[in-house]
C-alpha cells in the first residue's frame, strides 16, 4: 500500500444538527484509523437544522473513497463532497496569533503582520494579537515568521471550504 500516492482531501459534510453527530464523525475516523488534519463544524441552516463539517484528511485514493462512503452511510449525514476532487474550491482558515515582546522585535512583528494583511485585534505595551484569514500555508508561513519575534500562542479554526462557481452542496 505504501507505494500508492497519498493525497490530501478536503471533505465537506452536511449533517443533521443533532446531539452526537460530531461524535459519530470523529468516532468513525478514530475507529477506522483515518487521519484528521483539521475538522470544523458549525450550524449553517437553522430552519432545516443542518450543520456543515469540513474535514481535511490524507490517504490513498482508496482510503479517501472509503472515508466518503463511510461518512455517507451515517444516518444523520445528508451529503458528502470531496471538494478537492469535485472541482476548484476555496479554502480558508482563521487564526489568532499572539506575540509577546517590546521594542524592535515588536515593531518587526507588526510590520510583518501588515505585509501579511493580518489585523491587530488586541494590543498592549508588551503584546500584540493578530487575526489572520487565509490558506493553511499562508498561516503556517506567518506563524513561522513570528516564532523568533516572541510568538506566545496560536489558535486556529482549521479549514472551511466551499466550491467555486455556481455549484453548491445542497441537502
Amino acid at each position: 500500500m505504501s507505494d500508492e500516492m497519498q493525497r490530501t482531501a478536503t471533505i465537506a459534510v452536511l449533517v443533521e444538527n443533532e446531539a452526537g453527530v460530531l461524535a459519530r464523525v470523529i468516532g468513525l475516523f478514530s475507529g477506522r484509523g483515518y487521519n484528521i488534519e483539521s475538522l470544523t463544524v458549525a450550524p449553517v441552516d437553522e430552519e432545516r437544522r443542518l450543520s456543515r463539517i469540513t474535514v481535511v484528511t490524507t490517504g490513498t485514493d482508496m482510503i479517501i473513497e472509503q472515508i466518503k462512503a463511510q461518512l455517507d452511510r451515517l444516518v444523520p449525514v445528508h451529503k458528502v463532497s470531496d471538494l478537492s476532487l469535485d472541482g476548484p474550491h476555496l479554502t480558508r482558515e482563521l487564526a489568532l496569533i499572539k506575540v509577546v515582546g517590546r521594542g524592535e522585535t515588536r515593531m518587526e512583528a507588526l510590520r510583518l503582520g501588515d505585509a501579511f494583511r493580518a489585523r491587530v485585534v488586541d494590543a498592549s505595551h508588551e503584546s500584540a494579537t493578530f487575526e489572520m484569514t487565509g490558506t493553511a500555508e499562508k498561516i503556517d508561513a506567518f506563524v513561522a515568521l513570528m516564532r523568533p519575534l516572541g510568538l506566545a500562542e496560536v489558535s486556529r479554526t482549521g479549514a472551511v471550504a466551499i466550491a467555486r462557481g455556481p455549484r453548491s452542496l445542497a441537502a
Binding site: 449533517v15 462512503a69 444516518v75
Partner: protein, 597 residues
C-alpha cells in the same frame, strides 16, 4: 391493528411506555426479548396490561440480543429487544456488535435514568448512546416525549433499510412516565437516510457483458442475498442455473443457493472447499453478490484471485473497493440487482463461450474429485465430521423443517462443511464477530418464531457454557431446542491453532472441570443424552429428534481432530492445507501471517 378509529386514539394521551408499545405494534412487532430492571419498569407495567406483544424473558441481556438475531434471521423481520439501564445495556453490547457485523436488523430499547439525573453517575447509569455508538448502525437518546413515537418508528426504518443493522433507542425513565400523544409512522421519505436499492442500468450492462464473455466465471454469494429476502435466493438460483456457473457461498450466505445443486461448489475461505477456493483463485470473472471480501474469505490480499475481473454488487457502497479493488461496482439490493441482471442477460444477444465453460467445469470437477471433506470414521471414536454428517442425514430423513444455529469454533466450521442447506434463513451463525455463546439463545429465538420446526444448536462444550443459563428460557417457554454438543474437551479452534502455529503448546485451551451435560440438562428440566461410541451415535440423534422437549446431546468426539481444508492466515487460496498429513506445511506460515487472527 385494532378496529378503533385512529382519530379517537389521537385525542387520548398515553404514557411514554404506552407510546413505545403502540409504536412497536404499528411496526409489526409480535415478540420482544428482554430482561426487566428499574429503568424500564414502566414498559414492563404496560406490557403486563396488553396481549398484542409477547415478551420472552431471557436469563442474560446478551442472550436477549442473540435471541432477537435468531428470530430476525429466520423470519426476515426486525428483532426487538428490551433491557434496562446500566448493566442491562452494557450486557447487550456484545449482541449488538454481533448484529452489526452480520448486518442483522435489531431494535434494542434500553432503559435510562431519568433525564435530570443523566450525567450524575446515578444508580445503574451508563452512557449508553456513547458506549453503543460504534456498536450500532445508529442510536438515539429520547429527551422529549414529543420525539418518542417518531424516534421508535425511525429506529425500525433504519434497522431494516439499506444494509440492516442494530439500532438502540435509549429511554429515560421520566419520559416513559410522561403523558404524550401518539404519532403514526411517517409516510414521507426519511430526511437524510435513503440508501440506494435499485442498481443503475449502466453497471448492470457492464456486469452482463463481463459475465457473458467469461471463460472461467464464479459466483460468490453472501449474506446480503439472505437480507434481500427469500425471493433474492430464488433469483440467484435462477441466474446460476441459467448461466451454468459454479456458485460458492460465504459462511453467512449458506442456503442462498441449494447445497444439493451440482453447481454448488461449497463454502469458500479459510475452511472452504478446494473446488471453491481454487475456482476463486483461477476464475477470469468473479461475481460477488452480497458479500464483502472478508479476510476469512480472501486470504492474503495481494494473492487473491489475481487474474480475474471482479463485479461486486452490494447495498452498502462502503463495502465496495474496501479490501479488494473491483472492476464493476453495482450498488443495490441483491434481489433488485439479480432481477435486473437476469432481464439484461436475457435481452442480450451475445452467446456464452460454452466450450470454455465446459472446460472450466471439467477443471472444477477434477478439484471436486479430491473430495477435500473426506474423513475416515473407523473404530469406536466418533469423528466430529461424522457426527454432523449423520445429524444432517437423519434430520433430512425426519422430513422436518430444520433450522441450525451454532456457537463459534471447530464445530461451527464442521457444521458449515457437512450440513447442507437448501433454503435461506435456515442457518444462524455468528460470522463476523465470532461470538461464542451465540447459538443457544439464537436457537431459542428461532424456535419462538417457528414453534413446530426442528431447531438445533450445533455447539462445542466450551462455547455452550458461555450462555448455558438460557436452558432456563427453553424450560420456561417449553422450547424444544436441541443442543448438539461436539464435546472434544478442548476449545478446539484454539487448540488447532496452537497445534499448527504454536508448537502444540496447549495454553489454557483444555476444557477442564466440565459439567456432566446430561445431569445439567436434567436440572434444567430437559432431556440429557450422551454418545461416547460411534455405535451409539445414530440412536442418540434419533432420540434427540423424536423427543418433544429440549435436549442436550453430549457427543463425545475425537479430541485431536482438526478442521481441514485450511488456508493458514496470510496464505493464498492456492496454498491450502488439505489434511493432517500435510499440516507440516504450516511451518511455512510467515511472521506476517502469524500476526493475523
Amino acid at each position: 391493528m385494532s378496529a378503533t378509529a385512529p382519530a379517537q386514539n389521537e385525542s387520548r394521551t398515553l404514557t411514554g411506555a404506552e407510546i413505545v408499545l403502540r409504536a412497536l405494534k404499528e411496526q409489526g412487532v409480535e415478540v420482544i426479548f428482554g430482561y426487566p430492571g428499574g429503568a424500564v419498569l414502566p414498559i414492563y407495567d404496560a406490557l403486563f396490561q396488553q396481549n398484542a406483544i409477547r415478551h420472552i424473558l431471557v436469563r442474560h441481556e446478551q442472550a436477549a440480543v442473540h435471541a432477537a438475531e435468531g428470530y430476525a434471521r429466520s423470519t426476515g423481520k426486525v428483532g426487538c429487544v428490551l433491557v434496562t439501564s446500566g448493566p442491562g445495556a452494557t450486557n447487550a453490547v456484545t449482541g449488538l456488535v454481533d448484529a452489526l457485523l452480520d448486518s442483522i436488523p435489531i431494535v434494542c430499547l434500553t432503559g435510562q435514568v431519568p433525564t435530570h439525573l443523566i450525567g450524575n453517575d446515578a444508580f445503574q447509569e451508563a452512557d449508553t448512546t456513547g458506549i453503543t455508538r460504534p456498536a450500532t448502525k445508529h442510536n438515539y437518546l429520547v429527551k422529549r416525549i414529543g420525539d418518542l413515537a417518531r424516534t421508535v418508528h425511525d429506529a425500525f426504518y433504519v434497522a431494516r433499510s439499506g444494509r440492516p443493522g442494530p439500532v438502540v433507542v435509549d429511554l429515560p425513565k421520566d419520559i416513559l412516565l410522561t403523558q404524550g400523544t401518539y404519532e403514526e409512522a411517517p409516510r414521507e421519505e426519511h430526511r437524510s437516510y435513503r440508501p440506494q436499492t435499485r442498481p443503475d442500468a449502466e453497471s448492470i450492462r457492464k456486469a452482463v457483458a463481463l459475465l457473458k464473455g467469461a471463460k472461467r466465471p464464479v459466483v460468490y454469494a453472501g449474506g446480503g442475498v439472505i437480507n434481500a429476502g427469500p425471493e433474492a435466493s430464488e433469483l440467484l438460483t435462477e441466474f446460476v442455473r441459467m448461466a451454468n456457473m459454479p456458485c460458492t457461498n460465504t459462511l453467512m450466505g449458506l442456503g442462498v443457493f441449494p447445497a444439493s445443486d451440482p453447481r454448488f461448489i461449497g463454502m469458500l475461505g479459510m475452511h472452504g472447499t478446494v473446488e471453491a477456493n481454487l475456482a476463486m483463485h483461477g476464475c477470469d470473472v468473479m461475481f460477488n453478490i452480497g458479500a464483502r471480501f472478508d479476510d476469512r474469505v480472501t486470504g492474503r490480499l495481494n494473492a487473491f484471485s489475481p487474474g480475474s475481473k471482479k463485479i461486486h454488487a452490494d447495498i452498502d457502497p462502503s463495502n465496495i473497493n474496501k479490501n479488494v479493488k473491483v472492476d464493476v461496482p453495482v450498488v443495490g439490493d441483491a434481489g433488485q440487482v439479480l432481477r435486473a441482471l437476469i432481464e439484461a442477460w436475457k435481452a442480450d444477444d451475445a452467446e456464452q463461450d460454452r466450450e470454455a465453460l465446459a472446460n472450466w467445469w471439467k477443471r472444477i470437477d477434477e478439484w471436486r474429485a479430491k473430495d477435500c471433506l473426506r474423513y475416515e470414521q473407523s473404530g469406536s471414536i466418533i469423528k466430529p465430521q461424522h457426527a454432523v454428517k449423520r445429524l444432517y442425514e437423519l434430520t433430512r430423513e425426519s422430513g422436518r423443517e430444520t433450522f441450525i444455529s451454532t456457537e463459534v469454533g471447530q464445530h461451527q466450521m464442521w457444521a458449515a462443511q457437512y450440513f447442507g442447506f437448501e433454503k435461506p434463513n435456515r442457518w444462524m451463525t455468528s460470522g463476523g464477530l465470532g461470538t461464542m455463546g451465540y447459538g443457544l439463545p439464537a436457537a431459542a429465538g428461532v424456535q419462538i418464531a417457528h414453534p413446530d420446526a426442528l431447531v438445533i444448536d450445533i455447539a462445542g462444550e466450551a462455547s455452550i457454557l458461555m450462555n448455558i443459563q438460557e436452558m432456563g428460557t427453553l424450560a420456561q417457554y417449553r422450547l424444544p431446542v436441541k443442543v448438539f454438543i461436539l464435546n472434544n474437551e478442548y476449545m478446539g479452534m484454539v487448540r488447532q491453532w496452537q497445534e499448527l502455529l504454536h508448537g502444540s503448546r496447549y495454553s489454557e485451551s483444555y476444557s477442564a472441570a466440565l459439567p456432566d451435560f446430561v445431569k445439567l440438562a436434567e436440572s434444567f428440566h430437559a432431556r440429557g443424552l450422551r454418545a461416547t461410541d460411534a455405535s451409539q451415535l445414530d440412536d442418540v440423534i434419533r432420540e434427540m429428534i423424536a423427543h418433544p422437549g429440549p435436549v442436550i446431546a453430549d457427543i463425545c468426539v475425537d479430541q485431536k481432530e482438526n478442521v481441514f481444508p485450511m488456508i493458514p492466515s496470510g496464505a493464498a487460496h492456492n496454498e491450502m492445507i488439505l489434511g493432517a498429513g500435510q499440516a507440516g506445511g504450516v511451518a511455512g506460515v510467515t511472521d506476517e501471517g502469524r500476526v493475523l487472527v
